[in-house]
Symmetry: D2
Subunit: 337 residues, 4 copies
């Protein structure tokens, strides 16, 4: 049984709380900390079986009973709290991204060296049943040598322009998951990135200096070509698909739906839309990733998504931005780290 | 918060324990009773947060704190324990079937009259996401007047001949769920049943006096025709589908799978098999039905599957057996109750 | 090169004319006869390359150059013209059904004995790409022993009540194709038939003494159970599917559509309706069956759908009517022939 | 009735001969010319109803009865024969590409000016039922403003390295169809092209100076982004799909198959592979495009795929090659024409 603390009780903090309480039998949440902790949240946490709540996460870091922390606070605090948690000897599950600033990620990488600390980054989609099945097909040799990887990743609704302005941009906020997926499926790093992007969904996003539509081509180290297509708004909901084509065949996924019911009438043959957004679509993967983290602690194995896996998609995001700015393919090696 | 006791810690008792602990926040399992309670089970129950375990279910019935019981014991005990529980003033969730003996079901029906006791029968499939979507389409008028209802229900593996011999026969053991589904989707009772059946899967089942393959036609009170096809063994797994055809269109479901991944190679285009069996396929529905039971208690509403809904499929199963024996269509009104 | 004459230039006569002109390179239509032959039809026939047209089909039967005839006239003339054609030494392709009167079919059967005449009945669906693929899967052993055969056969629009009154009834007019399909897929005859039917589409059909909705259960000689569901009106178009379930697996077909295009929008994920009716859906099969007929003549082999195959579905239709009238399962052996 | 001559009796010349004889009632092939005309071909052409055959196509150009020619000869002869045919006052259907040399295409463009000659280029896929349905959905406003266009186009088998060497390269030989499709679906021209390509299928293709795998990103004039993925070898057959995503939704196609039959067994749920190659997949579109050509002649309307539509994909192919050579996005305006 691993005793954990959760730092941040916002949307994703609640997701992890619920996952651990419902599915992760060998973990126990002792404390949840959030600077804006209020009665409603406290009440809900108690009802889930959480013992303590507090406002200052240092209570968690200073609690010798707590072996591991989940960092679910705002993005800009991920790397500083990671450093503090590592210093306090806690295993760390850190939500993505570790940071937008490479220097800060580097500090985390350095702090982890020789520490024996388990560090996992919250790229939950690797644990999703559909994407995991694609990966398994590749690993089982069913696709042969990988030639082309295609990721479709479209949100149901765009963020507000305000959010877009502080999010680090679409590539670091949204595409970062797809960059991770490409690395996961290719089994190697990207060598070069080229972005063709546009503002087609909301002009305000463009005015905030960001884009909302993109097709991103990547040359992978193993010779495969990957392509990601992103939109901040799909009228039919959250579109999350992958297709991997290789020398022996292709494996592809469809979206998940609430049911398999199909209505045939005078208008056509109509099935359900994709599950609305990431909470519905990826709930199972949030539980699986935390199970994996706890397993790594209990069995002293590597985490499934290490600090390196947290760093690389940030590098890719920075390269993508550079590709847009300079309108050319950018080599990952150009991004100084 | 409703305090419940669970009688029977076999497969389905464990399913309900897990569901309640993980998903039903407003219910609390105080005690689980099983005549064969052992250390392993006790240990598992404690790990799930169950307070007490015992061998004699009377401890549960005599506990004034416990408001409701889930009867998950062997079929022949369902009706006697129901009677005792009703007498003890407990709300009752009873696994299907209430009994194979109509006289005993009648006793339960009588005991409930005017008692104020909530009684729910475990026809979980009504709560399944796919079948619920079919029902919703009908209720929403998308299918129009219902003309034809088709249920495909095939198990992945046949039961042992020993089990078949004591199960009450395929119609009362397996088809009973489909009889309930037909009533649920039609929104009315069957008037007449005709069975064409065979022993095609395992001769030992035939030697035990049962069948393993059947096509069952039903005339419903609203004029619709329903047809169920059953097999005790589908080589590709658990096949659970429904199709409802009416004046305005058709709604149909496909099987659930572990993932949407599809492999295209020189051999063909291959997706996953259906989820293996009822625990995988219907897990969500087991939780939803218990939530509904607790909701009915807390809000003093009718349960979603009442004692009448428990009785009718048994009548249909008896009529089905009679149809096989006498090789003719049998009216439900012929079954004396 | 086989020289043929076509008797009847109605809808199906035109279909065969077009098929032969476009696809059957080794057949040549010399003459088309129709009592109502008019200028429009003559003009169209000439444009297709047909040499002669006439009103009296005896011109065809008396033409020594013509080796084979296609009987596409009204149902009540099928058997008398068959007899005349056989007497004239012509090979015969006869549209379904040969007759509704068993005595008349018997005369054709007798006339063919020892005649050396090739006789084929127009059960075109055996030649359809989807149903042929199902049959092939069975023949290839992919399904194992056949346990359950399911045929869905629903028309897009009901016939007029006038037509229903003279059509011989739904079982001999519409279901007859499905009876043939069941025999084709089972690879054997039916032993017993039970019908549950209703008038749910159009009361006028009921007043004309017919039904418009039915579920028909058949016990096949090889032990398999078959079930056909029919409706005279599917709001979404022509629904033509088959499913064969056996010891090793299941093979099933979906409807054909005009394109594979699927639209995903805020309302759902919508594909096309089935092809509208039999001309669209089965055009390829009409050509294939005639190719097979010409092949049998040129190579002196058995036709693919012989006179026996024309007789048996009529027997089944008569048994089906008897099942409705007497409301009981009827053995095929009860139908005196 | 339009009298036509066909120049070239190779594979595609035979396809058009068959299409016209079988489906295009208002066209008549008077003569087929081919320098390698032999007895077998002559015999086949006669059996199809073609009157004359010859070796020298000038017989066709000099025949005053012939109103239109289909140029189905080798690629390097397309533009010179086009010029001769235009000079002879014949309407021209020219197989793709008009030429690889822009100067020669320019001569054809010039020759057509004010000539009144109908000129159509053989981009048959626009006439394919699936792609036409996608276009229709866009035209009907179902997709809204187009944001992203995705074309998957993969051959079942790579060409020989010898062929690759003289084919003009993958972009002018294979992708040219996809460039046309992108223009067709976008309803506008491309502004810029970027190619990421590789030799992953056959090293001999690389040694011949060509590529066999590519992901091509295009910025369209209307702001949409298009992406084409190509492979010279898909183990599962000919993969031809399109997906168009816009402000109101997405329309996407799947591959065509020989049947809809799906086998479910212990290994999985398996449907058929895509139709093998372009003759199987696009047969209907070859007939439809020629029907359109004849229609344009008879009704004096514009052809559906004019000389401009023949030119633009060649420009795109040249830009694609430049993008590979210079490893950067290339504007179409850079290609001097």
């Amino acid at each position: 049984m691993v005793t954990v603390g959760i730092i941040g009780a916002g949307r994703i903090g609640k997701v992890h709380t619920e996952s651990i309480c419902n599915y992760v039998r060998n973990a126990k949440i002792k404390t949840v900390a959030d600077p804006f902790m209020n009665e409603t949240t406290e009440h809900w946490l108690k009802s889930m079986g959480v013992e303590n709540t507090c406002k200052d996460y240092h209570e968690i870091l200073n609690d010798p009973e707590i072996q591991a922390v989940l960092i679910c606070s705002s993005t800009n605090t991920h790397s500083p709290i990671s450093l503090e948690a590592i210093a306090a000897g806690k295993h760390v599950f850190c939500e993505k991204p570790i940071d937008h600033d490479l220097t800060k990620i580097k500090q985390v990488v350095e702090a982890l060296k020789g520490s024996g600390i388990k560090y996992q980054v919250g790229f939950n989609r690797r644990h999703d049943h559909n994407f995991a099945a694609v990966k398994q097909a590749i690993v089982d040799g069913k696709v042969g040598d990988v030639h082309i990887i295609k990721i479709t990743s479209r949100d149901p609704e765009p963020p507000s322009a305000e959010y877009a302005a502080v999010s680090g941009g679409m590539f670091l906020d949204m595409t970062i998951h797809d960059f991770d997926m490409v690395r996961f499926l290719a089994g190697c790093d990207a060598e070069e990135i080229y972005v063709q992007s546009a503002v087609l969904v909301d002009p305000a996003i463009g005015e905030a200096g960001d884009v909302d539509t993109a097709v991103i081509t990547l040359k992978m180290e193993n010779g495969a070509i990957a392509v990601i297509d992103n939109s901040r708004r799909a009228a039919y909901g959250y579109d999350q698909r992958a297709e991997v084509f290789g020398s022996k065949g292709m494996v592809a996924t469809a979206n998940d739906t609430l049911s398999t019911a199909v209505l045939s009438n005078a208008e056509g043959v109509t099935g359900e839309k994709p599950l609305y957004f990431f909470l519905e679509r990826y709930m199972q993967s949030f539980a699986t990733e935390v199970k994996g983290f706890i397993h790594a602690i209990e069995n002293d194995t590597d985490t499934l998504v290490g600090v390196e896996d947290g760093l690389k998609p940030v590098l890719m995001g920075i390269a993508a931005k550079k590709s847009v700015e300079e309108h050319r393919p950018v080599k990952l090696s150009e991004i100084v780290y």
